[in-house]
Symmetry: none
Subunit: 271 residues, 2 copies
């Protein structure tokens, strides 16, 4: 197909993925504007995207009419307010629980162990969802709605770490770090050391700290703003816990984060 663009810079090969050219071009324009925080002039836009200035102008105008892009001044464009509205709409419709379930089932199928989803509520974590089967007679069951202190659960430790060490000391003073078993972490120093290790390895553990004979691994679930909103955890009888399940839980949690819209490295808003 003889695409008779003069000796214009090739820029990039016309991507064939879009069944409709105009929409593909629209996306290239949005991509470009997304990459540049400052408003761009029509000339640059045309050059970067490889579109004819006339074409770029026409499409940008159409988008501006629907507030998808903002024409800040003649010939100067940036991403528009409509995107903010639609984005918030998408966000408001996300349910962590629903999006987490497939990955939870998969993790459960791989391990055969109980998988929990929990969120923070004050100084405790609350179990929000669970997948377990009758495959094994002996299994760890947390009732949905049950709660537990932050410092004695793998999921809780993730929330403590998120707040930073200053707040951890406040938490310790406030609650007194009441131990539940002989393995529970009862000193701030040990807790901080444990949190540092969690930060390094990417997932948290609970070595019979909530209940003797029960071990857990947990990993963080983050939203589009990079904020910790939930924790995915795996609970097993001590003797059945496998070392490689840590990364496995981490991977499942990352998959859920991705489904929610999390992009590693992105952090918006001030907590």
């Amino acid at each position: 197909m003889p695409n008779r663009t003069p000796s214009r810079v090739p820029a990039r090969k016309e991507q064939a993925k879009s069944p409709i050219q105009v929409i593909g071009r629209m996306m290239r324009l949005l991509d470009l504007l997304a990459e540049h925080p400052e408003p761009l002039g029509l000339k640059q836009i045309a050059q970067y995207t490889g579109l004819h200035p006339s074409t770029a102008h026409r499409i940008l105008n159409a988008m501006a009419a629907d507030r998808m892009v903002d024409r800040v001044e003649p010939g100067s464009y940036r991403l528009g307010m409509r995107l903010l509205e639609l984005g918030n709409l998408v966000k408001s419709r996300i349910s962590v629980r629903e999006l987490a379930l497939p990955a939870m089932r998969e993790l459960h199928a791989q391990t055969g162990e109980t998988v929990n989803l929990s969120v923070r509520h004050d100084d405790e974590i609350v179990y929000v969802e669970r997948t377990s089967s009758g495959r094994s007679a002996m299994r760890v069951v947390h009732v949905v709605g049950a709660r537990a202190a932050l410092h004695i659960t793998s999921a809780g430790k993730l929330f403590l770490l998120e707040e930073g060490f200053a707040k951890v000391r406040e938490y310790a003073k406030r609650t007194g770090l009441v131990p539940h078993t002989k393995n529970s972490i009862a000193s701030v120093t040990l807790l901080e050391r444990d949190l540092a290790r969690i930060q390094r390895q990417g997932w948290a553990t609970d070595n019979e700290e909530t209940e003797l004979g029960v071990r857990c691994v947990a990993a963080a679930i983050r939203d589009d703003g990079g904020h910790l909103i939930a924790a995915l955890s795996l609970s097993t009888p001590t003797e059945r816990m496998k070392p490689h399940w840590g990364p496995l839980v981490k991977a499942a949690a990352d998959k859920i984060s991705h489904a929610i819209g999390h992009v590693p490295g992105v952090r918006i808003g001030t907590h």
Copy 2:
């Protein structure tokens, strides 16, 4: 009426605002998906938008390829993740937001009422951020991204005042000062009188002019050039509004302006 598409119903007159039909149709699809939280089937989409099923399908596919819409299962569509990403980008580029949040939270803590941050966009104000809690069952909630006319909101009046009385008359002529409630200011004379009062006292009010039963107070947020860039407002049910909250909102707005780099008296650049 049988759904047989032969006697094609116009559904709605093709809106002529988009210079490119495909983009206009895309917007209609996005609008429809925005209105419906649950995923929609192709058949319904085609019916609601008046598009041919084949056309709707083709456009939706193109959008799905770029993740603007999400094809949750064959023939079932909803708004896509890309919108969340782009929306966050837009949001992150409104820097006032971040700097305003601490003061907004403080003001919220002092009053217990909903605090809004808004900016001007054309002849409307757009709500950019909100702090509200579940402390009180009854509260005033503006959706982030929502818009409202300038002359019926306390925040909007600040922007009108900023432009001077000459431009206010232009605005009045342009928009017709459409009233929203029986309290809305619908005459230029009254509007000018209100603006003069706002200028004297340093903050703006909205006495059930947007919605009956709701009152607001707003104050200006200015950048280092002395330009009005945003407005901080407090919305309450009429009976809960306290007279001393005016100065309080003004003080909070001034604090934000200071954080941005505003120095009272400084005014640079044009207009």
